[in-house]
Amino acid sequence: MIPCIESGIPGFDELTRSNDGTGGIPENTATLIYGPAKTGKSIFTNQFTYKGLTNDEPCLYITTDNGYKQFKNTMEEFNWPIEEYIDNNSLYLIDTISDISKGKPSQSESFIQSYINNPTDIMVKIGSGVHYIYKNNPRFRSVIDSATTLLAYNENMLIIRVLKAYLMRVNEAGGTPIIVYTQDTADSIIETMSKSMVDNIIRVDGEKLYIEAMKGIERRSSPYQITDNGIVIK
């Protein structure tokens, strides 16, 4: 039996239900969610994050696309307020994209600034983040949204190694990480390598969600919709 954690996406845990009755994201495995732009990849991971927070599972979230403010606003648009979780340190946010001059809130115990073009610093902060969050609860979630931006700013092979190190760190500590990637933004070899690093591969194309690989189950797919409450699998 493969233990799973609730995804937070209505219909997803049913879609991924295995013969032994479990469904969701297999715990302590690595997942890649990919697909074209604007197909709901970030919404999926935000829903996953929020579900974890409401289940008392802390989350290490590395944002490379949206700064803290934008991330917070996006979450609020779907009625997933995160302020409380930042305040109680169960959401550990590494913001690699906000510019200090743009009036972001000052760093706190669980809100850390890093730099998109400095992979070593990002890894240092991830290391501290994993340590911090693990100590509070060994069952935790983690998200990188997204690898696409990291790849755009840095040498691609270096980022592959960063992602590999990230997955290893989180998995070793018992966490369940998800990486977001926008399809066709890096060359196909990098894409293949990214897929080879993870246990589960989910693709979304705006209409259907495909489970291309997942521990314990065969390939599946189902239509989905992006609603005011996030993604809903039909």
């Binding site: 400095n118 070593t120 610093d121 290391g127 190694r161 070899i189 293949t192």
Partner: protein, 311 residues
């Protein structure tokens, strides 16, 4: 164009359906098959690089030989072939030894030993002997062999270190910070140096950069670790870090990094009272920055030099 074709053909194969495919048209490739194929291609590429490095070595082009071997190591690291990583480090050690660069050779052999040890290779005893012989040659009397796979070792050297700082070190220190600040990411790493446990933080960051192969960050961190040592007036330790950084920057052909390393080496030489080396390193550094037309870098370098010569 050629590159596009290669990528297209890989993409075609990955897409799974191509009516033009001939030799294996009935074969269905799995992800594992593709990973195996990729591994084989990379293995072949690394072997070619070793052959190229050998030709460079035979032509006595040592820097190019080392650079090419480094590329091969990166590939073997990617495909996680520890035996061949050990082999290439072993070769690099031989090249450096031939070039009378014993300290680098020792570092290479130590890395080779690490890999051979992990896979329990028969070569591990041979490499241990090479390390022992070189270390005995390098520092007669110091027979203790330590295997430190992290930062370059900073065992005390015989160069005397003044136990009092120059009269106006704080002025120089400020300029050193500005010089290091020329490098990308240095400001961020410098913030580790201001933390409560600077060495621990910097060493952790160094290990991290080493682990992910961020060569530029690794070299910059060595400079900052050296700077922290200099602040504690451990000048010989600082020199070792600065020299290791210089070597790394040269390997990745980072001219600005080389210029900054030379400025810091010159500064440490000044503190050691070795004035001949001071001017030689400063001259080389200024020439690099001038060739790069890095006017602001050159200005900062000149200010550091002035603060030293005005002492």
């Amino acid at each position: 164009m050629k590159e596009t074709l290669i990528i297209t053909s890989v993409f075609d194969r990955l897409s799974g359906g191509n009516s033009n495919k001939k030799p294996n048209e009935n074969k269905e490739y799995t992800m594992k098959d593709y990973q195996e194929m990729l591994k084989e291609y990379k293995d072949a590429e690394a072997e070619i690089l070793i052959n190229i490095a050998t030709i460079h070595f035979e032509n006595e082009n040592i820097p190019e030989s080392i650079r090419t071997l480094k590329k091969a190591i990166k590939i073997y690291a990617e495909i996680e072939d520890m035996g061949k990583q050990g082999l290439v480090y072993d070769l690099m050690g031989d090249v450096n030894r031939y070039n009378n660069n014993d300290s680098s050779a020792i570092e290479n052999y130590k890395k080779a030993y690490k890999f051979y040890f992990k896979i329990n290779s028969d070569y591990k005893n041979e490499i241990k002997e090479k390390i022992n012989n070189l270390e005995i040659l390098e520092s007669a009397g110091d027979s203790q062999t330590s295997y430190n796979y992290g930062l370059p070792s900073t065992t005390p050297s015989e160069v005397p270190t003044p136990d009092v700082p120059p009269s106006d070190y704080s002025k120089i220190s400020k300029k050193i910070e500005e010089v290091i600040g020329i490098l990308n990411g240095a400001d961020t790493y410098m913030s580790y140096a201001k933390s409560e446990e600077p060495m621990e933080q910097l060493e952790n960051a160094y290990e991290m950069s080493n682990g992910i192969g961020d060569d530029s960050a690794k070299s910059t961190l060595l400079l900052i670790i050296g700077y922290v040592s200099l602040e504690k007036f451990k000048t010989n330790d600082a020199l070792k870090y600065f020299n290791a950084s210089l070597e790394n920057f040269q390997e990745i052909d980072d001219k600005k990094g080389e210029a900054v390393s030379r400025l810091l080496i010159g500064t440490a030489d000044y503190i050691n009272g070795d004035m001949e080396k001071v001017s030689s390193n400063f001259r080389k550094s200024i020439k690099i920055l001038r060739d790069m037309k890095d006017i602001s870098g050159e200005t900062i370098a000149m200010e550091l030099m002035n603060s030293i010569y005005e002492e």
